[in-house]
């Protein structure tokens, strides 16, 4: 019967329009990036259709202009990778240090006011990232709030240079990605069985011992999820380092953009974009494998 034959057909039919748009404007272009990373750069941007591994080579190494056989590590690129990974890890750590007490605070409010606190954490997350970065810029720039207050109090004579430093990027990223740490932590604490905490105290554990041996192991899934959620957009950050970091303190995202702008080396940009994607997918796989193992252990 037709009904049997078409059992799955209509499901696909309903999904088709969305899939067409997604393939055309998301997955398809991504495949093109993969292809471009193996091509030769054109003179005015764009590519020549000659297969080469040069772009991938240049991601890590550089050749001497006069002696093409003299190969050295590309220090500039490695510096940017190092900064990106380090800043992303620092951002994750800072978010965890601030996010854990915040999530705990929300989770231990009476249920009636909990929604309000959660809402307060969520609002900044839904407001424009650029505006929040702009807000941070206004606070830390040379004639911004912090410097005005400190100068007014007579603490400093000349303004502290905070803009265009790694510190500015760290501060900005922690500021914009903090809700991504608090929400999964809260979700884990919401499910926390406080009888276990009580049992810890009954057995004469100190607050530190209860925190370390009872609470932390129980909310670990929230920690891992939050860390992944913060780390991934930090590695992929473009706007925050562009605005707060200036030209010299680049992150991976800015290095990619540079190749498609002034750099006019699209294949190199494509290879760098693939590298970023590999790091992100690697972090996701790490997380999924960890979550599966954890689930298997708890069953």
């Amino acid at each position: 019967m037709a009904e049997a034959r078409e059992r799955h057909g209509w499901k696909w039919l309903l999904c088709t329009p969305a899939l067409i748009v997604l393939v055309a404007a998301a997955s398809g272009p991504l495949m093109i990036v993969v292809a471009y990373s193996f091509l030769t750069p054109g003179n005015m941007g764009g590519v020549e259709w000659d297969f080469t591994l040069e772009a991938w080579f240049r991601v890590f190494f550089r050749r001497d202009i006069f002696d093409p056989d003299a190969i050295t590590l590309n220090q500039a690129h490695l510096g940017v990778f190092g900064r990106s990974v380090l800043l992303s890890l620092q951002t994750t750590l800072l978010c965890a240090v601030l996010g854990f007490p915040t999530a705990w605070f929300i989770a231990t409010r009476p249920p009636s006011s909990r929604t309000l606190w959660l809402f307060l954490i969520t609002i900044p997350f839904w407001t424009n990232l650029l505006i929040r970065t702009f807000a941070i810029q206004e606070v830390i720039r040379n004639n911004g709030t912090i410097n005005a207050v400190l100068t007014g109090l007579g603490v400093i004579d000349s303004p502290l240079q905070m803009m265009y430093t790694d510190f500015a990027i760290l501060l900005g990223m922690a500021y914009v990605f903090l809700p991504l740490m608090v929400l999964p932590l809260y979700a884990a604490m919401d499910k926390l069985d406080f009888r276990l905490v009580e049992a810890g105290y009954d057995l004469y554990a100190s607050r530190v011992q209860v925190l370390w041996h009872v609470i932390l192991p129980l909310v670990k899934p929230g920690f891992i999820a939050g860390s992944i959620l913060v780390f991934i957009p930090s590695i992929g950050a473009y706007v925050t380092p562009r605005v707060l970091g200036g030209g010299r303190t680049m992150m991976l995202g800015n290095l990619i953009a540079l190749q498609f702008g002034q750099g006019r080396n699209w294949p190199l940009g494509a290879a760098l974009a693939m590298l970023m994607l590999i790091i992100v997918v690697g972090a996701l796989i790490f997380y999924l494998r960890w979550a599966n193992r954890e689930e298997a252990r708890n069953v």
Partner: protein, 268 residues
């Protein structure tokens, strides 16, 4: 050593850090909003209340242009994304597992997982090629890019709504000789409206906020409010930018609040 007030949920210092975090989260935004009403040019010295920067923003033709473009782009992209996501949600929810389902999920969620800068340069390559091949340089590229980016966000609340919906109502309709279309039109769709509205609003906010993808896809003269602001941040900033940001913030806040009201109702 019995302490009557001992609370198992209390951890010393945590409250203080939490309050500090909330203050840090809101202080920069409060400062930004406050100085949009400043009579002077300074972002640090209060010189009296004034609406002059709002006036300047409203009289700025470029700001008006980019705002209108942002709004209709968000309307179009979110509208398309909502229709497509509703169909996709109907095709993937409450139907049991079927071959290819994992692939459909992966495709729908891809924009969430791939960093925006990667999607941005990928689209730049494709759009640059299409522009040369077809000669078309209109807003179609931005609408398509934003629609794809909004789909996962519109899909989530619609799917959530479908999953929690009472399926017996549709079965009752079928028992009363309603055909598939009638059951959908008079039972499923009306029940699905809150999910569709929530999906639309989420998509709208996401499109309105998207800056990186727009930056790489747009042709000359297609600036949206976020890309315009990104360009301006590098120059000397006057409180006019604060005024624009404040209005933008107020709009986002209204939509998000409405979104929460709509999704909260589901529980009751």
């Amino acid at each position: 050593m019995f302490n009557r007030n001992f609370s198992v949920s209390r951890l010393p210092g945590f409250g203080a850090v939490a309050v500090f975090t909330f203050v840090m989260l809101y202080l920069p935004i409060i400062i930004l909003v406050t100085f949009s009403f400043n009579a002077g040019v300074s972002q640090a010295q209060w010189e009296g209340f004034s609406l002059q920067w709002y006036q300047a923003a409203f009289q700025n033709d470029q700001v008006r242009d980019v705002s209108i473009r942002s709004l209709w782009l968000a309307l179009a992209a979110s509208g398309f994304a909502t229709v497509l996501s509703t169909l996709a949600a109907l095709g993937t929810t409450r139907v049991g597992r079927f071959p290819g389902q994992t692939m459909i999920y992966a495709l729908i969620n891809q924009p969430l997982m791939v960093p925006e800068i990667v999607t941005g340069v990928a689209l730049l390559i494709l759009v640059a090629f299409l522009k040369v091949q077809t000669g078309y340089t209109g807003m179609g590229y931005l609408v398509a890019a934003h629609t794809a980016f909004c789909i996962p966000f519109a899909y989530l609340p619609i799917r959530a709504r479908l999953e929690t919906m009472d399926i017996t109502l549709e079965k009752a309709a079928a028992d009363l000789y309603a055909d598939h279309w009638q059951a959908f039109r008079y039972i499923t769709l009306p029940l699905l409206v809150p999910g569709i509205l929530a999906g639309f609003m989420l998509g709208f906010v996401i499109s309105l906020d998207t800056v990186v993808i727009t930056e790489f896809v747009k042709s000359a003269g297609q600036d949206t409010l976020p890309t315009y602001m990104l360009g301006q941040l590098r120059r000397t900033i006057t409180p006019e930018m604060n005024a624009i940001a404040t209005l933008f913030l107020a709009l986002s806040l209204c939509i998000v609040t409405a979104f929460f009201v709509i999704t909260r109702k589901r529980g009751t």
